[in-house]
Point group: C2
Chain length 203, copies 2
């Protein structure tokens, strides 16, 4: 999608078009965030909220699902740059990106509503997962596999279960943790606790 | 609430009333499960779906929120009986109850929709948490504290973080795991992995 291209890559005369794109994306997220389900969402409503004509939308997105996938994807923070110095540090970077993302109230609200409709829009959800979630999962999987190879993680670690422990503990905090911002040191504490395990040493 | 009392504790002549209660609870859950938000839900709609008069509802629940809290609470599995033989076994029992609960598609769907509205109905959600979630959390906290005291868990374990790791890993599987039923041995694998930790022994 064009929305993620750097401005300099655009042909001359596109700024107005970019502004329209942003307005359309914002309108879509606003309407979802206000509780309008993906089913009820219409190109008409989005156009009206964004202050553009329907044609302007259809010029970029051939259907509502494409637009919603793009809009939801803009809520995801970019993948953090991993230094590769240690598996522990890289896992903390990955989890800290989740923490920062969850700290944005609007993202959280819109994402909750959208995820809630996953059952009713499986194809949309599948595309969103592929586009915005899978690259993050693959990054974590690569770090864990590197850790097993280097001996920084246990040789018999179940990679999927390790990913579920790390991501799940963060997810739990965003869903059930105390209200307000997640603590700045949460990612570090989660990684340290997950690495150390709950059992005493040598058990 | 009367709905959780055993049948034998009821005065004579209540069976019809119980049947009505069940129909009302079912109608409430059905309507939520079909995507009717808590805001849109009305006593009229519930009465009509349940095939009872509005008075029948108001005789038991003075308002919609009370009814929704009761209805959602019926979706929670009863707290498992803990044998107390080992902390590991008790944690597996607690997590396995979460697994079984998540396996019920209707519960999962209704609960998702309801949780999604938590922001808009904070008082209702607070009551539901107190009624249906907190007893489960307290049970897990007690087992973890017992484990720290007995030496089955590490002395420096952060209890809240330990709870988040266990519950979060289960939550992750219900939200993001492969479609279909959760594997029968999931609770055991999660507890074993969380206890062992991801780091190699002695690190």
């Amino acid at each position: 999608m064009t929305i993620q291209e750097p401005v300099t890559a655009r042909p001359a005369g596109r700024p107005r078009s970019e502004k329209a794109e942003k307005a359309i994306i914002d309108a879509t997220l606003d309407l979802i965030g206000e509780g309008m389900g993906v089913s009820e969402l219409s190109i008409e409503a989005i156009a009206s909220r964004a202050g553009v004509g329907k044609t302007t939308i259809y010029r970029r997105w051939s259907n509502k699902e494409d637009l919603v996938v793009d809009a939801l994807s803009t809520l995801k923070a970019p993948l953090p740059v991993l230094t590769g110095e240690s598996v522990r540090a890289d896992l903390i970077s990955l989890l800290d990106a989740m923490r920062r993302e969850a700290g944005q109230r609007r993202s959280r609200c819109v994402m909750n509503i959208a995820m809630n409709e996953a059952d009713r829009h499986p194809r949309l959800m599948e595309r969103f997962l592929k586009r915005a979630v899978e690259p993050r999962r693959e990054a974590m999987r690569a770090v864990i596999e590197r850790g097993i190879a280097s001996g920084e993680l246990r040789a018999d670690l179940d990679v999927d279960l390790g990913m579920a422990i790390l991501s799940g503990t963060m997810l739990w905090h965003t869903k059930w943790g105390p209200a307000g911002d997640l603590p700045a040191d949460l990612a570090e504490r989660v990684v340290n606790a997950a690495l150390a395990g709950m059992a005493p040493e040598g058990r």
